[in-house]
Symmetry: C2
Subunit: 399 residues, 2 copies
């Protein structure tokens, strides 16, 4: 499979067209994919538009193409989470999947459990459904299940409704890159089952692992249809496809199909993805993504240690992000603003909290989109921004 070869990708990575969007600014804020490794989908698209033309150019079945749902079910089953095609609903990417789950499950005034911090793009989706948040912390083993238990007990005692679901990213969490330990996963699934609260497992980065072994997915540990999942081809193939999925019991899948305001997700995209999948494209692209993003991570970790020894962070085993803890007196929003003046973009930690009153000394850096050279240059600029800000603070203190 020459078109999937690493060499071909490397050649693409070196072409200037791959980086036309930066304009001199280094975008560590961007969770975009590295353009240098986009796969060659021309053969898959051509098949989709010829052999499957009457399928791909017509209106599609709302839950998705049957063969696509089958492929996803097999993919998840191979990963330890037994899934039938009837449990799979195709969506326009993971965000659309989250929105469909919200449309299905949430009523005005409901609450949900999220980590603090959590995936910042999901926050406005949740808010648009009128929910309130029960925020719980994380440690190195993942979401704090004891805090969930304590909050459920408190709500019960007050005679109030329990949250509708617990939303979590168990693998290479966005933004913290924490991966849940096995025993924490078991505890999370157990607490959901015991209280009758659904768990929504959003795991886009699971396969982008650079080292170590995967823990079982939450769905793999679930005995009671208590775990719904959100998945996407954005990291397995390419984000521009906007093809993802939701898994849920078949009756919920059918109801979400009715809620899809787009009718059905594009059969042309689904068939293109599917033909790519059938040739082993996901597996080969996953290996390339692991190699590439692993090298990007190494580069960023080295640069941070060299240029910014004042900050702390856990080295991510996978995913796209480094979650930086600044010294307590350093404000992440101020650093992001100062960094933009140095032409490097980062996201202040404050954006990742659904509620208020959280620590301000964090920023998130993505190493996915930029080249290794840009990573070195960008961390250098960030260090300059940091030094300028620290200097200013010192001057003010002395004044």
């Amino acid at each position: 499979m020459d078109s999937h070869s690493l060499l071909a990708r490397r050649a693409a990575a070196l072409s200037p067209a791959a980086f036309s969007g930066h304009h001199g600014t280094i975008p560590f804020e961007s969770g975009d994919a590295f353009p240098g490794i986009f796969p060659d989908l021309t053969a898959a698209a051509e098949l989709a538009l010829t052999k499957y033309r009457t399928e791909t150019l017509q209106y599609a079945p709302r839950p998705g193409l049957p063969e696509m749902r089958e492929w996803v079910a097999q993919y998840l089953t191979a990963d330890g989470a037994r899934t039938s095609p009837q449990e799979v609903l195709m969506s326009n990417g993971a965000k659309h999947g989250i929105d469909l789950l919200c449309r299905l499950l949430l009523d005005e005034g409901d609450s949900i459990v999220v980590t603090a911090p959590t995936y910042f793009t999901a926050i406005p989706i949740f808010k648009s459904h009128g929910v309130s948040f029960v925020e719980v912390g994380q440690d190195a083993e993942g979401i704090d299940v004891e805090a969930i238990e304590a909050s459920f007990t408190r709500l019960c005692r007050q005679g109030r409704k329990l949250p509708k679901f617990i939303y979590n990213i168990p693998d290479f969490h966005n933004p913290t890159s924490v991966t849940m330990s096995r025993r924490r996963r078991e505890a999370l699934v157990e607490i959901g089952a015991r209280h009758g609260v659904l768990v929504v497992e959003d795991s886009p980065y699971r396969k982008i692992r650079f080292q170590g072994e995967s823990e079982p997915s939450l769905k793999a540990l679930d005995q009671d249809q208590g775990v719904l999942t959100v998945g996407t081809f954005s990291k397995l193939v390419a984000p521009g496809l906007r093809v993802g999925w939701v898994t849920a019991p078949p009756d919920l899948v059918n109801r979400m199909g009715q809620l899809k305001s787009d009718g059905g997700s594009s059969p042309l995209l689904q068939r293109t993805v599917l033909e790519f999948c059938k040739t082993g494209g996901v597996e080969s692209h996953t290996r390339i993504a692991q190699d590439t993003y692993g090298a990007h991570r190494d580069r960023m970790v080295r640069a941070l240690r060299r240029e910014l020894p004042q900050v702390t962070f856990a080295i991510p085993d996978g995913g796209y992000y480094v979650w930086i803890t600044l010294p307590e007196e350093m404000d992440g929003d101020a650093l992001a603003k100062r960094a933009a003046e140095e032409h490097v973009l980062i996201i202040p930690g404050s954006k990742f909290f659904a509620g208020k009153g959280h620590p301000k000394n964090h920023v998130r850096l993505a190493y996915s989109y930029t080249t290794p050279e840009e990573i070195d240059e960008g961390i250098g600029r960030l260090a300059r921004a940091y030094a300028a800000l620290a200097e200013k603070a010192k001057v003010q203190e002395n004044a």
Copy 2:
């Protein structure tokens, strides 16, 4: 442009694969496109996946690709409705566009104006936003503007809020195929502007005209940004693309962009459509669609006159549908049920009313999806169903 030639399409139309879904049942219920005229998009997709690879496989700008928005703006401007690219938001088809407008404009407890009957797929979308309906009738010139005026006056007198918008399909209305006259269009735009009530113009069939001249679009007659529009490539290219658009003032476009739960519509689909558009694909496909659906309409009109002289209908000048009026004592639901037993599917008129208490003696037939031969066969079956039902009624009457 050989790939767009009618001959190539005809050849495709004759291949058995094009009709693999019917299984002996004739689907006049389906507003699907005729598979025999699907255009050849392979060259456009290949360009999208090679030359534009870093654009099409990456996350997309939420409002759509700038060049795509420009194309749509020019297309609408050429049709008499001056539109800037900033007024265009790309969507995943027209239904998604309607949903985005609802998300933007509607609050729980709002009402909207719809025709009785109206586009049945839009009804559950509207309902999911918790609206109530002000239903007004239609005549041969389109929506009854005097009835809208009377209802607004009544609401004002009662101190109640006016509807948030008037939803209408001015060209080849679904299901009635009525096209609004120019003076009725002017009256509709005027009443909206005078009362400060927006008009939502949904016009997917506008270009699928078999005879006569187009009237100006509602947007072309609008002086006050009072008309928002919903459009789609489903009829201009192919439904499987799921690419459509909404036009609105730029600030509303930006707010709808934020409401797009899918992030941005697939840049791969947008670029594929755009490259097809740039080669004149829409114009050539529109001519083919006019020829094909015009011939289908002729065939259905002839068959209905021959086989079912008991029913009445207006001959559509364009679009996909014939709206049948049955004798008053004949129930559309009963006919649809009996027809299904004869293996021909139709939609009872009752499905097209947002409210209750409407006439029951209508059915909608689509001539878009089936072949001319299937149209003859299907109307024959429908006539048998009709005769059986009429016979049964006579027997019961005499009993």
